[in-house]
Subunit: 450 residues, 2 copies
Amino acid sequence: MTSFKLTDELLARIAQLIENQKDSALVSLLEEVHYADVAEIANELKVDEATYLIKLLDSDKTSDVLTELDEDVREAILSNLSTKEIAEELEELDTDDAADIIAELPDEIVQEVISEIEDKEHAKDIVDLLRYDEDSAGGLMAKELVKVKENWNVLTCVKEMRSQAENVTRVHSIYVVDDEEKLIGRLSLKDLLTTSTTSPIRDVYIPKVDSVNVNEDPEEVAKIMSKYDLEAIPVVDEIGRLVGRITIDDIVDVIKEEADKDYQLAAGISQDVEADDSVWELTRARLPWLILGLFGGLGAAAIMGGFEEMISKHAILFFFTPLIAAMAGNVGVQSSAIIVQGLANDDLKGSVGNRLIKEMLLALLNGLILAAILLLFTWFWKGDFLTALAISISLIAVIIVAGFIGTFTPLFLDKRGIDPAIATGPFITTSNDIFGILIYFWIAKLVLGI
Amino acid sequence: MTSFKLTDELLARIAQLIENQKDSALVSLLEEVHYADVAEIANELKVDEATYLIKLLDSDKTSDVLTELDEDVREAILSNLSTKEIAEELEELDTDDAADIIAELPDEIVQEVISEIEDKEHAKDIVDLLRYDEDSAGGLMAKELVKVKENWNVLTCVKEMRSQAENVTRVHSIYVVDDEEKLIGRLSLKDLLTTSTTSPIRDVYIPKVDSVNVNEDPEEVAKIMSKYDLEAIPVVDEIGRLVGRITIDDIVDVIKEEADKDYQLAAGISQDVEADDSVWELTRARLPWLILGLFGGLGAAAIMGGFEEMISKHAILFFFTPLIAAMAGNVGVQSSAIIVQGLANDDLKGSVGNRLIKEMLLALLNGLILAAILLLFTWFWKGDFLTALAISISLIAVIIVAGFIGTFTPLFLDKRGIDPAIATGPFITTSNDIFGILIYFWIAKLVLGI
């Protein structure tokens, strides 16, 4: 049943209907289509075609469509709507989505748009949310929730819930607050369904309720909700008052964005880009780390130039520099990936010192195995045992140092409050290349007695 | 309120209490502790201590604790329980979690454990679930759900729901089926709360309901639930009969595991390991790709050896091989990461051909900028313009080829049904190293007329 597929034919047909302004045909075609799918369609249309669609369809559908659009498409469409039209969309949205959209609008029109929102309570809630840092629980939460006071009787409760629940898309728990709006417990819908409703709230509610502080880091919220299998979590301010609620669908988005960001960092892409972004945007995101890599390579070249006198008698050493650099890079990337993931999943136990020792042992073991393979091949290929030995010993040393750097750097950054995911990818490979080549030639010099 | 922190003191205290068999102290200490936190504690205890705890606490708590344990800890604890004790735990679990645990048990005892489950309906449901492929919607789903028949009157409905909902931890929607158990619609709890209950089901339910097929890929299910902001999705078999339900908490786990797996693949780690695994397990996961990298390096060394005659007059070329190899690797990793992410998020539109052309343009642009920087530095450093030019032109060519390989390979794998995430990390860097060095010397030879 969930089988919406955006085919080229469908897209062409919709574009055609828009061009010929066949409004009723469009409305009936898209009537049963989920807003996320309408957003997919709008992402593919030209901006003016998408704007036409947004203006044509009802606000209660198009508002959700707007939240699902790619950011640049949304920006383009909003710039084609009047402040009144934008306000109408915001009217239909949950406060968290409305706040997100307002945050994207140009400053000059924000005041006007807000003033055009007819539901003043709704406007007030949105404005409250705008105060919070985007990158916090407050920035994620919505004001829509169902709450009851502990000193109410059940009849008042049920009536209250019926009217509050009108605006709340998903009711998971009904939150219980005291007279000062402080969160003190919860009631589940299931309880209501399966318990007789003649008891006073005070006797029925569960006084234990998980919550997060309004200043909490979104990744922390995601960890908590994932760990305790929660679908929604209330948000409280510094005094403990219930100020909002975060639902699992927003957290799923946080988890995916975080994973995408870490993955891109590990590949040396410095900002959030997609495959379909323009060549210019992609260049801006990719070039910085490439330039870093370039300078790393220049550094390596300079180091090798410093050992130039070895070339005539020991040319073979230079043939193995890519191998040494590559192994240093690979080991470093592996080590840092495991640490970064461990930090993200809160899986790391034990002291940093122990971890480094473990990594060195691991590197030693792997290094010995790899060096043995290398020794055999090199000796076989060139026949000079001492040189093969020099290269193999260097490999072990390089691997140990690379493993150390790869393990230590993200831990170090994390302790300093810097995102450890930066210490992956090109950062690690470039620094390990330089260290690796330095160590390599130094050891080769030692072993070969030059 | 959600501030459980596993301190060393707490852990030591619990271990102490276990050693002295202070049962009532342990029970009261852990009474209010969430099962996910108890699991965190158990992960840190010695196996016999953890087993003691599991046997001591009530099954309705320890069953959930078991599902949250690290896999190897769970395996160790289960091996210390009798089949009757295991069956008692399974009795308390939702069918999907019970099936997962049975799947982990040694084959010899599965039959016995199942026979010891007292609730025969529960046992039947678990056995049904065991038939499905682990890596499918059927393998993810649970049998616990609330369903009503369309031809029931409302009174029967409400009574039925009250009794069914006893076993269901989270009720999102009540599913409506026809006489043949085929899924035809749903009712939301919110509707029940806000609508009068005197209407017949047939008039009240929503005939539109998203569902997935029992054979669907878990990543596809995750995409659907994330796209449509669903918290639970019913699962139907090939005939359309309602056979189970997948809840968002399981999907959150799927998303995180998938992200972790892709991240590790990109770092050249071949199986699911954590930072705290043994040195041996980590070696097994990391060594394969390292060996691949080693052979790649040997290949590069052999290629360079083939150009040995250039060394005396053009030693500088060999100083730049790590730079060329590193740039090839970096560009390749960036390109493949963007494609792999695009494939995972279903963000890729347009033909493969167009994408490759776009990547080449991007590579050309980036290559020109980087080559210009390189040219200036090299010329400045060594004063030989022609050599600097040769190296810079090679860099452009290498970057274009690396970008091509990095873009093409994951697309190619994906079209063949192979996980494109394999074409990241060491796979890309190693192959790009070899191609890069080959192209480099070949172009250098051309430009310098050797």
